[in-house]
Structure formats: C-alpha cells, structure tokens
C-alpha cells in the first residue's frame, strides 16, 4: 500500500513524504504505554517493590504487626478479627504483614536471578554463534541435553543436596543457582541466533576483508539489535523464577522459616484450610497476580519492541 500522506501539496508531484523518524526506544515506550494490561502490570510490580522495601521499616516502627510473633490466643482467626486485617495463620502470626514481607523473597528471586542468567546465556550464545562449526555444534547439543531435563525436577534435585543455612538471602543462593542453571538455555539460543544473523550481514564480510576484528564489530551490532528480545526473554524469566521459588517453598524445601515466603504461606494455610480458608487464598492470589503482572509486562514489552509492528 502507499505511504500515508501527511499533507496535500498543490504543486507537488511527489507524493512521498518521509515518516517521522522516531527512535526505537521512544516508539517502544509509547506503544508500551498504550497497552493497558502492560501498564497495569507495571503498576502492580511497582506497588510490590514499594511494599517489599517498606515492609521491614513498617514492622520496625510498629505500623505493621510483627509477622514473627505468634499470638497463641489468636490462632487462625478470620480477617478483621483482633486487629488482624487479613487474619492469622495456624501459629497465630498476622497474615498481612507476612504477606508483605514475603514479597521481598519473591521479587528478589525473580529479578536477581536474571542477573545470573544473563551472563551465562550471553557468553554461551556468543561463543556458540561466533565460533560456529564444531564448538557451536557441541554447545547446541549440550543445550539440547540440558533442555531435556525438566526444570522443576532439576531444581528440586539440586535443592535437596545443596542447602545453606542462615538468613534468607543466604539460603537463596542455592536456589538462585538451581533456577539459573535451568533457565539460561532460552537466552543462549536467542543470543546465538542474533550473532549468526549478524555474521551473515555484508558489512561484517566487508570489515573482515579489510582486516578489522570481527568480534568487536559483532558486539557493536549485537547489542542494539538484540537488546530488545533479550530484555523480553529476561522479563519472561521473572515469573518463571518466582514460580519455581514458590513451588519450592510450598513443598517445604525452599526458604525456611522464620522468613515468610508466599509459597510457605500457601502450604501453611493449606493445613488450616477448613478452619480458615483465607489463609490460603491471600498468598495464593498474591502469587497469581504477581505472575500475571510480570506476564503482562513481558507481553507488553514484546509487542512494544516488535520491529514488525512499526508503521
């Protein structure tokens, strides 16, 4: 179809009018903003981040009920009773404050794990794509094998052998490791694909024939082109990671008490399910909506950064 015409030119013969040149990022940002679900997701995530950061402070200053205090007289009370807005769990601990503290773990796992996955995936993908040939073959076979290992099972196995005790962020380390080990394959494949397509472009050939180091050239072109898909992949990795951590906590092999985690809370609540079902519902919904929020953001980013949808 013809290029849209912005103005009628009486004298003009040429109906070609160049499009306004918008940068990729501005364009993406605009598109993202127009995606209501994505914005909603971003809102939820921001809210959670605030909660995660503020909650220890609020507890310290007594605004929130101490999540570790077990009020024996108030076990499994329904929401609203005894000054507990969301009720208490089977040990009499306030659910709302536990819920808020729990966000720390989920967000930390989700976001930080990506920082581990990124270098691993990037390196392997880069190596594979750049060197090509047998190294590429070998690495790709390696990733195929790795892919065959179901992620949840692998994480469970790793966690069963490797556990550190101490404060919760120490305990997280083996979990980080396990999750990262399971999730790097997608990123590596993506990077490799990008490197391969860059290698095929003519200017690399030209540069090579004129003697400049192709590695530098590849890196220079790699980043701007593939930053978009890489960001999308990492963003989709966040709910995956949060999910894995939640399952681990639910099964009792994740972060141990006293630090509350949502998975743990679902498990605890499950034991009290007949007496006080909301103790299951609240953490379950928390997990669900957090995952949903990140998924919306991921979808929104992907659509926003999709070069094919540019006008």
């Amino acid at each position: 179809m013809a290029i849209p015409i912005a103005a009628v030119e009486q004298s003009g013969i040429d109906w070609e009018v160049p499009e306004e040149q918008i940068g990729l990022w501005q364009d993406a940002w605009q598109r993202f903003r127009r995606n209501r679900l994505a914005v909603l997701g971003a809102g939820i995530v921001s809210f959670l981040i605030v909660v995660a950061l503020l909650s220890p402070i609020l507890v310290h200053f007594g605004v929130l009920i101490d999540p570790f205090r077990q009020q024996v007289e108030d076990i499994q009370v329904a929401p609203g009773v005894g000054g507990h807005p969301f009720g208490t769990d089977l040990l009499g601990r306030d659910i709302l404050s536990r819920l808020m503290l729990g966000s720390q773990v989920s967000l930390t796992v989700g976001l930080l794990v990506q920082f581990i996955i990124f270098p691993i995936g990037l390196t392997i993908g880069l190596t594979s794509g750049y060197f090509g040939g047998r190294i590429d073959n070998l690495l790709m076979r390696f990733t195929d094998i790795w892919y065959a290992f179901p992620d949840l099972l692998f994480v469970l196995v790793v966690v069963s052998v490797w556990h550190l005790s101490g404060p919760w962020f120490i305990q997280l380390i083996p979990i980080f490791g396990a999750i990262a080990l399971v999730n790097w394959v997608g990123l590596a494949r993506l990077v490799r694909g990008q490197v391969l397509s860059i290698k095929e472009k003519e200017y690399v050939e030209a540069a090579r024939s004129s003697g400049s180091a192709p590695l530098k050239l590849i890196l220079k072109h790699l980043l701007p082109n593939s930053l978009g898909p890489i960001i999308v992949t990492l963003t989709f990795g966040i709910p995956q990671a949060i999910f894995l951590e939640a399952v681990l906590s639910f099964l009792g092999v994740g972060i141990q008490p006293p630090q509350p985690t949502w998975g743990q809370m679902v498990n605890d609540g499950y034991e009290a399910i007949y007496a006080n079902p909301t103790s299951v519902v609240f953490p379950a919904l928390a997990i669900g909506f957090t995952l949903l929020a990140f998924t919306f953001i991921g979808d929104g980013l992907r659509d926003a950064l999709d070069p094919r949808m540019r006008r």
Binding site: A148, P150, L152, P239, F243, A246, I273, V280
Partner: protein, 342 residues
C-alpha cells in the same frame, strides 16, 4: 534417465538397492527413528551423571538424621556396606548404571528394605491415571477452544476464552489447586451443609479425580488453546485458503482439510513439552491432593534426602519425557509431508 522437471536424480554413486531403501520415505523414516533413539542414550546418560554427582556431593552422610540421635559408627559402617557406599565413587557409578539398565535402582533410604523400583511401581498406576485423564482433556478441549476462538476472532467468544486462558495460565498449579479446594471443598461443604463437595485428598475412581485432573490439565490446555488459536489465525490468512474458497468448497471441508490440517501441525509439536509439563505438574498436584503417585513419592524423597529414590525417579521421568518427545517427532513426520528427513 530423464530428469523429471523439479526432481533431480539422486546421487548415482549410492548402490542401487541401498538407494532404493533410503530413498523411499519409509526408509528415511526408519533411519531417522534409529538416530533419534540413539540420541536418547546420551541424554539419559547425562541425566544420570548429573544426578548421581549431585547426590554424592551432598554434605554429610545419609545417616545423619537431622536433629535426631546420632547412630553409632558400627551401625553406620554396616549401613554403608549394605548400601554399597564404602566403595570408591566411580565404582559406585558404574555399578549404578549397570543396575539401572536392568531396572534396578537400589534400595530406598526411607522405607527399610523396599527397593526403589517397587516404590515406583506402586505409585505408577495413580500417576498414569491422572496423566492419561489430563491428556485426554487437554487435547480436545485445548484444540477446540483455540479453533473456536480463531474462527470467531475478535468476537466476545474470542475475548472471553483467551482472557480466561491468559488468566488461568499465570496461576501456578498449586495455587489453582489450593484455590479449587477452597472453593469446591471447603466453601461447597459449608454452603451446602456437607451435602455437596469435592474431596480434597486421596484417590478414587470417582469424584476424587476431578480436582486433581482439572488442576493438572489447566495450564497445558490453556497453552494448547492459545497456540491453536494463533496458528489457525495465521493459516486462515494464507493464499491457499482463498483458493479453497474460490473453488466453491463447502465450509466444513475448508475448515477441516485446509485450515486445520495445516494449523494443527505446530500444535502437535508441542505435545512433547506438554507431556513433560504433565510430568512435572504431577509432582505438585499429587502433593496438593495427597495422591499416592510417583510425583508425591518424589517430593517425599527430596524432603527426606532419599537419594536412591530421587535418582531413580529422576531418571524415570527423564526417560519418559525423552520417549514422549521422540514419539511426537516421529508423528510429526507423518503429518507434514514437507519435512525432509536427512
């Protein structure tokens, strides 16, 4: 020999008979299958190695019951000898592999004297029942929903199905399972005074199956529906569909022979990963609903550090998933005539 336009003569150096065999599609299929089966071996081997290494890198010996009484050294030595833990590690490994090939995965640490194989066999029927039921829910429901949403694109039906799908897909298995229990067991019980509710645990060939199967099947159904919808939408836009309409074919024929036959191809390829998903999902679902299957046995093995059990079930799962992927790959060759097997 004439060169048929568009079909170059096969390499004449290959001996005629062999060429006749491998040239035929069936022949190449055989070669392909064999190659893929052989490829499964390094995969499984890799799984065994990794898991084995992990098991044996665990700190402490399996006899250190945390927080319990320490066993005397004599007892520990005897136990070690009994379970073969006193031998050097590579010997243990080779022994293990040898036994594994014979389906002997050793004795469980948890249950005195019970072999891992027995434990697996005991749990198998439950897990398989859930899996088969879930699968038979996923495929028809997922595909039907996806097709309907695609054919009625942008109508309320489409938005409703896909909205529900996205929503459901974001909530993990155990979350959905727990919420279902809350609604259909607890709430229903309270609301109907104990008359109507779904049982929350245990196994039985009755309404005990409903919640676990639905929980297990939900996510894969959603994925399948979404993929079917996307694939069908893409197929509908193709030129050959226009050709089909232009020939004056009835709607039913166009939808089935032209649209679906093409759009379902990518869906079939995801059946392998769907199967894998069912396997890992069973771990969670069986725990939530207290179904005595292999998945739950795996979890208890993990929490009680029953290494032979962990090792055995992991290997089993990996083999099963690899086999499922293989079957799907073979199926794919039959569905898509464009696939080249070399």
């Amino acid at each position: 020999m004439a060169v048929i336009a568009g079909r170059p003569r096969r390499d004449a150096l290959l001996p005629r008979r062999l060429a006749a065999i491998t040239d035929s599609r069936l022949g190449s299929l055989g070669v392909y299958v064999v190659r893929r089966i052989l490829w499964m071996i390094p995969i499984v081997f890799f799984v065994i190695v990794i898991t084995f290494v992990l098991m044996h890198s665990a700190s402490g010996s399996p006899w250190d019951k945390e927080g319990g009484r320490q066993l005397s050294q004599v007892v520990v030595d005897n136990l070690n000898k009994k379970y073969g833990l006193d031998k050097p590690i590579y010997v243990q490994f080779l022994l293990y592999v040898w036994n594994a090939v014979h389906f002997d995965f050793g004795l469980s640490y948890q249950y005195e004297g019970k072999s891992v194989t027995t434990l697996i066999a005991e749990g198998a029927p439950y897990t398989m029942t859930l899996g088969v039921l879930a699968f038979s829910l996923i495929v028809p429901v997922g595909i039907t929903l996806g097709v309907i949403a695609a054919l009625r694109q942008n109508t309320r039906v489409d938005y409703a199905t896909m909205g529900f799908a996205t929503f459901g897909a974001s909530f993990p298995n155990f979350v959905i399972g727990s919420l279902m229990v809350v609604v259909f067991s607890v709430f229903a019980y309270k609301a109907t005074g104990g008359n109507f509710f779904l049982p929350a645990s245990g196994f039985g060939l009755d309404d005990h199956l409903i919640m676990p199967v639905v929980t297990l099947a939900l996510l894969p159904t959603v994925f399948t529906a979404r993929l079917t919808r996307a694939s069908t939408l893409e197929t509908i836009r193709q030129d050959y569909i226009r050709t089909a309409w232009a020939k004056g074919l009835p709607e039913r024929l166009v939808v089935i022979r032209h649209i679906l036959k093409n759009s379902l191809i990518p869906v079939v390829t995801t059946l392998g990963p769907t199967f894998a998903f069912l396997v890992t999902g069973s771990v969670i679902v069986e725990t939530v609903f207290s179904v005595p299957g292999i998945g739950r046995a795996f979890v208890t093995a993990v929490t009680s550090r029953d290494y032979p059990m962990i090792l055995g079930t992991t290997i089993l799962f990996s083999v099963v998933i690899a086999a499922a992927n293989l079957i799907v790959d073979i199926l794919y060759v039959f569905i898509d005539p464009r696939v080249r097997l070399t």
